[in-house]
């Protein structure tokens, strides 16, 4: 420690202190100093003491200022604040069921999908590896929202958050929809927004499966969507518990489905009509009196229980997220008047120059 500069020591001490108070996700954070929080607040045109949401058992207040403090800790840029503000409104929406899925033994994760022009403005990845590490906006926005929820609701593993296994994706699962490569209307348009709106959508799945069709052809893709969904991913929409699954289709396979003239709704109908799960052979038939018990029943109650989005890059691997016991809820993102100026100011902070190819093949 004696070799460290005063600033480094301070960074260590602050991180120790925040960790001991349960304010971090276990990784090092950027200290939410007055100056950094002040800078973060440039990204939002709401007063710092405005309550954005009330979360947890006691409906604890999450203010603009505390959201900014969490954004600083997570490494966000001020330009991410509008997305964070909308994400917090999604968490606070009773339809998100975050009060349940955030603490359940099922270790449910906060799954975020971003749509609209904000994807390009903030460089939120929608193509290769979108749900994985590496992308600044994808990772830090999800991280900030996860920490903001925990720090406001005051839930910790083993006390209130009783996830048995935990979930490596819990605070880090955010991608944009690949609208440009998708043959379908965007996810947010399906959920009632205009294509020009920027939105963030929240669901609460605890698992995902990646799979690929045996042929890059529509019928194989459809079959694969059904065959690769585990029987444990059951779904039914409803007031008490809105359980859904989301099929995330890559652009190549989405294009094959488009060649079959299949809309998203038709795809959902096909999946619901053709998905069954085997029943417990010892369970008595609940509806057929003395008849022979059925050996299989419908896996999904209705098409509202099945969601479809187009995300990912080249290749034929798709993903199924489920079962979500939260949402999905979608919120429109509102931007401050000076947003374009801020974007310009912070543009260099997230420039990618990972594999420079310019001039190599000339």
């Amino acid at each position: 420690m004696s070799e460290q500069s005063e600033t480094e020591q301070s960074l260590d001490e602050i991180n120790k202190s925040l960790y001991s108070e349960g304010m971090t996700d276990g990784l090092p954070v950027i200290p939410p100093t007055d100056e950094r929080v002040e800078e973060m607040l440039r990204g939002i045109d709401r007063p710092r003491d405005d309550v954005v949401a009330r979360l947890g058992n006691n409906e604890n207040a999450l203010t603009v200022e505390t959201l900014a403090a969490n954004a600083v800790m997570a490494g966000c840029l001020p330009t991410y604040m509008p997305v964070l503000e909308a994400g917090v409104r999604a968490l606070a929406d009773p339809d998100s069921n975050s009060i349940q899925f955030s603490v359940s033994t099922g270790s449910w994760a906060y799954q975020w999908i971003v749509n609209g022009p904000v994807r390009e403005k903030l460089d939120i990845e929608s193509s290769s590896g979108a749900f994985g590490p590496s992308f600044h906006a994808n990772q830090t926005i999800a991280r900030a929202l996860g920490m903001a929820y925990r720090n406001t609701a005051k839930i910790y593993p083993g006390e209130k958050d009783m996830g048995v296994m935990g979930n490596p994706a819990k605070f880090y699962m955010l991608a944009a929809e690949n609208e440009e490569a998708s043959p379908w209307e965007p996810y947010h348009v399906t959920h009632g927004y205009d294509a020009d709106d920027s939105t963030i959508s929240l669901a609460g799945p605890n698992s995902w499966v990646q799979w690929l069709p045996s042929e890059n052809e529509g019928e194989h893709v459809l079959r694969g969507m059904i065959r690769n969904t585990p029987e444990s991913m059951r779904a039914s929409s409803g007031e008490d518990l809105n359980a859904t699954i989301t099929h995330v289709i890559n652009p190549y396979n989405a294009e094959e489905l488009e060649k079959e003239d299949l809309t998203k709704e038709e795809i959902k109908e096909y999946i619901v009509e053709n998905s069954y799960r085997t029943t417990d052979e010892y369970a008595p038939a609940r509806h057929s009196g003395d008849g022979i018990p059925p050996r299989q029943v419908k896996q999904y109650q209705d098409t509202d229980a099945v969601k479809v989005a187009c995300i990912g890059g080249p290749g034929r691997v798709n993903a199924i997220f489920g079962t979500s016991i939260g949402g999905p809820v979608t919120k429109k993102i509102h931007f401050p008047d000076n947003f374009d100026e801020l974007l310009e100011e912070y543009a260099d902070d997230v420039e990618r120059n990972w594999v420079p190819t310019e001039g190599f093949y000339e």
Binding site: N57, N60, A68, Q100, F101, A148, K154, E159, K160
Partner: protein, 189 residues
């Protein structure tokens, strides 16, 4: 270097008192509060059977939350309080997962709000969860750990697991006088 706290600032919850316990279960109307988890009904059934043997003059009345999540609704909360107001004491089950332990604590709190002494039955692995939910609500809600683990619905197995010692503990939680903290007595100046 000043820091902005990233957490909410509502730790200071006012300490609320529990409702005084009954002196005995003999001849009382005992409420059985099923929070909607599958293991709640068999556990409460086994407890009821054993209590009925001990207190033949006691009466039992059930409240079933049809789906666990319904306790989030104001109408359901009002209905629980209305039901609880008509019983002398109540036993709730079960806290055997993250959300159901939270919602069980909410249910026991509603029962106490109705002026009825209550106790929650929990899987022993969820003690800290129940406590932390109770602490957050500012009330030392009583509970009894049971060896009945998550999602055990086989009534015969549950009957075996609800020993006389477990029943002794439930009776104790419903009849033992409140201590100073549970009464939320003001701190002497």
């Amino acid at each position: 270097m000043g820091l902005i706290t990233p957490g909410s600032e509502s730790d200071e919850t006012e300490q609320l008192p529990l409702v005084p316990r009954v002196d005995s279960l003999d001849g009382k109307t005992i409420g059985l509060y099923d929070n909607g988890k599958p293991a709640a009904e068999p556990l409460l059934t086994a407890v009821k059977e054993k209590l009925a043997d001990r207190y033949p003059d006691a009466e039992f009345t059930w409240y079933h939350v049809e789906h666990l999540n319904q306790i989030k609704n104001d109408d359901e909360q009002d209905a629980v309080k209305e039901w609880a107001a008509d019983v002398d004491t109540a036993i709730g089950a079960i806290g055997d997962c993250g959300s159901c332990t939270k919602f069980l604590a909410w249910g026991i709190e509603l029962i106490e709000d109705a002026g009825t002494p209550g106790v929650g039955l929990i899987d022993e692995g969820f003690e800290l969860d129940y406590q932390s939910n109770a602490i957050e609500r500012g009330r030392a809600l009583r509970y009894k750990k049971t060896p009945v683990r998550c999602e055990t619905t086989d009534l015969d197995r549950v009957r075996d697991e609800v020993s006389e010692d477990v029943v002794d503990g439930i009776v104790d939680e419903l009849t033992r006088e409140l201590n100073e903290k549970e009464r939320a007595d003001p701190v002497p100046q």
